[in-house]
Symmetry: C2
Subunit: 334 residues, 2 copies
């Protein structure tokens, strides 16, 4: 059915090694045969079988990207960055989603390995359990880059300075006079969320303040979760004057809940998010995260590993997070 290199060899009367050589631009072939091969390949529309090639060269021109959920703007933008760079290198990317499940993450990585990807980009779930599967990658010396470092694992990674982002927003709120601050954290599997929360706590306690338990929410991930948090806040007798949301999506949910009750942001609640997503139309004060650039950096770092061989030193790239002040934070005068 499909034309193979053997067919081409038969048709041109040349050896398959000759065909292979010419097609891979190796030199040592006469101009005459070179033309003959090229013409025949062109004429019959020969497309080399990358699978077969991969088997002998050990390079599949394929990388795996394991993320949590493509539906989240954060990841879709990151993915776009990865794709962009992969394309430049003639690589194709396998998209795998862990759907926030630790076992799925492991399985996906396993599947990628069995498909012999040349490298992996993983946005690992943070969990108490184990990072064995990641240490394994290192042990097997499979090129890989992580989104976010993993304690004790000496690997390449790209991450954001989430702690500093958390610090910035908290200080911003303090500067604007807020003393009662709430926090809508993400899932416990999110490193970013944890860091931001930790920073928030640190800054508050440095000012003799604390995050009150009833103003601290957990597991906020999607818009609906944000709406839920918003509802809970609305139902409270006493409410924090400001809420830091783990990301813009959650913040958007809070905005939605408040708006649907006729309450207003920032008059009734000051709000801060993270990510600075494109689809934001609400003037939300947030923290911009160079997601797209991070995706590109992840891919570039990975290709560095792939082409640099197993002794390529691990690279660590940290992107800054930057507060973007808009109109969702009120200045309160005590």
């Amino acid at each position: 059915m499909k034309l193979t290199i053997n067919d081409l060899a038969k048709m041109t009367g040349l050896a398959k090694s000759t065909i292979s050589g010419v097609l891979n631009n190796k030199d040592g072939f006469s101009e005459k045969t070179r033309q003959k091969v090229l013409e025949a390949a062109e004429q019959y529309g020969y497309v080399p079988n990358e699978i077969a090639r991969g088997l002998s060269t050990k390079y599949t021109k394929t990388i795996g990207l394991v993320i949590k959920d493509i539906t989240n703007p954060f990841y879709s933008k990151l993915t776009k960055g990865v794709q962009e760079v992969a394309g430049e290198y003639g690589y194709t990317v396998f998209l795998c989603s862990s759907f926030e499940d630790h076992r799925t993450e492991k399985e996906q990585i396993q599947a990628m390995l069995s498909r012999r990807v040349d490298g992996l980009i993983v946005a690992p779930l943070l969990e108490e359990v184990t990072f064995d599967h990641l240490f394994d990658l290192k042990a097997k010396s499979v090129p890989f880059v992580l989104l976010g470092s993993v304690p004790g694992l000496d690997s390449s990674y790209v991450e954001f300075d989430d702690y500093d982002g958390g610090r910035q927003v908290t200080e911003h709120l303090l500067e604007r006079g807020h003393r009662s601050i709430g926090f809508a954290a993400g899932l416990p599997t999110s490193r970013a969320s944890r860091e931001r929360l930790r920073a928030c706590r640190d800054v508050l306690s440095a000012h003799g303040l604390a995050l009150r338990a009833e103003f601290t929410f957990e597991g906020a991930q999607e818009l609906a979760d944000g709406v839920e948090v918003g509802r809970k806040l609305i139902a409270m007798k006493e409410r924090p004057s400001a809420l830091i949301c783990f990301d813009d999506v959650v913040a958007l949910g809070v905005v939605k809940a408040f708006q649907s009750e006729g309450l207003r942001i920032p008059e009734d609640l000051s709000l801060i998010g993270f990510d600075d997503i494109d689809l934001m139309i609400f003037p939300l004060t947030t923290v911009s995260i160079p997601t797209y650039e991070a995706g590109k950096a992840l891919a570039r770092t990975l290709f560095g590993q792939i082409f640099g061989g197993p002794d390529t030193p691990a690279q660590r790239i940290v992107f800054d997070e930057k507060l973007v002040v808009r109109q969702s934070v009120l200045t309160v005068t005590n």
Copy 2:
């Protein structure tokens, strides 16, 4: 480095065909050898090389998904649906983005073919040029399913009744008394946009009305484009009373433009979008599109083709679009 089936054969003292047979659950092996193989595989952590397997079986357990831009919520949700079903079948998906470029689309499909995917899902760009590459797929009898039919190509597809969606929104506006209607269309490569626009024109002309050229915009794709359209409208002396946007993202852009000028939706402009995206917090009247379900349907149809062999009849699935009335359309009394 990596353990192969040959290694395993040597270690157990069995033939590689035995190892292969046991591991693939073929019968005709004694319980004793079966155990021996299984234990050895387990103990040494043997993972079959899918590349090698793919070469001989012709099945790579891999499908290709070619979309325009993963960053668009429409596609990310569709992708999620595809992934979900692919996962159920033990398949992994190659994500390819055409980035709205016809040539890139062709190249991506080519790349997928050279990687011998078992099937393809393509959201093709609509262009004057050619659909040769799609007809080629048919000719080569590569299993594939399209998002949206292509004229003259008898293939499986999943599509939305975009014409009807366009009809619904236009009639809704007419019912609410609007007579001066504008349309922010998407890129000319979007079939959905074209259909919606066509329906709008048809309905209007059936009512003796027409879409005025100065109220018809083209190439609106991202939020920024919507903002642009909004600005243009604001700058006009005379403005339509309602605007239909090709999708929610564009509508969101218009909202943003209006809000930033202190104008209000729907008081200053009635607005309708398409997609009913999750991240919407503005009470936008829109048309809900079962994107996630479509993604699943695409995948299921594809697997039907893959496992059903080349004579599987082409399937056509059309999803309805459904108007969701919220608060972005004013009732005007003339």
